[in-house]
Symmetry: C2
Subunit: 128 residues, 2 copies
DNA sequence: CCTTGACCTTCCCATCACTGGAACCCTTAT
DNA sequence: ATAAGGGTTCCAGTGATGGGAAGGTCAAGG
């Protein structure tokens, strides 16, 4: 299968698939004309990657998850540890963003937002 | 004032302050020895930038906010528009992360996480 | 046979907002 | 004289792509 078909099937841009090959996440064969030749397992792997990335896992996490996925003797605890660490990062990010949101929505609410120069938003940025 | 003092006062790394000069956000004078010479207004400006960045505004947003801050004839509506757009972006980001968090915490909860290979997390990544 | 258009390839540059490091200069104190 | 602790510039790298150039390949139509 050529790269465009794989892109369509997995939802990943062709560029991204080439990148994943470059960093060793997939290793498609090559046809005689130099085109990448993907088989079912490659597509399956790329779909896995697309889902993991969709859940926000880093490329390196994905590499680890892929390795575990392909290891029949894996311990589910290892998978869980990766997911748990990632979950913690996400929660941290959310917390940071929530704080920004709270401040920003207060400021936006406090600013009358007309032609006058007086502005609580700028005042806050000015004075902390 | 030399860059280290400004860094201490604003909480910004010296590297970042140099970068802000490079992209035209501040334009400190130069002493005879080539050192950057910051005065009170530069420090004030950098502190403003530090706070705006702390609220997640992009550098380009900061540039706009700085310009408005320095414009006595500004309309607070312009400031508010920038803040509102940024708030919307943040809320979008939060929504995306919340979705990830929900899925991930379900998966982490469902995975027994021991030595056995059976793993709902991998199953989910495998099958969507 | 030739051309067109849709593929494919590699390669390099850009993103965002820094961060690290090398190589070198200046100042102050010992 | 030297050492510590400033400062300077410039180059390269980060994560995970995206854009675009320059050129090879393939199938269909005139």
């Amino acid at each position: 299968m050529n790269i465009k078909d794989v892109a369509t099937r997995t939802g990943l841009p062709a560029k991204t698939i080439r990148y994943y090959e470059e960093i060793g996440l997939v290793t498609p064969d090559r046809a005689e004309n130099g085109y990448r030749a993907f088989d079912r397992t490659h597509v399956h792997k790329l779909a896995f990657l697309a889902r993991a990335r969709g859940l926000g896992f880093s490329i390196e996490d994905c590499r680890g998850l892929l390795a575990l996925w392909e290891d029949r003797a894996r311990a589910s605890g290892d998978v869980r540890a990766i997911a748990k660490a990632h979950l913690a990062e996400i929660e941290e990010k959310i917390a940071g963003l929530e704080e920004m949101r709270a401040t920003l929505s207060d400021l936006v609410a406090a600013c009358h937002g007309d032609d006058r120069p007086d502005c609580p938003i700028l005042k806050r940025l000015e004075t902390g």
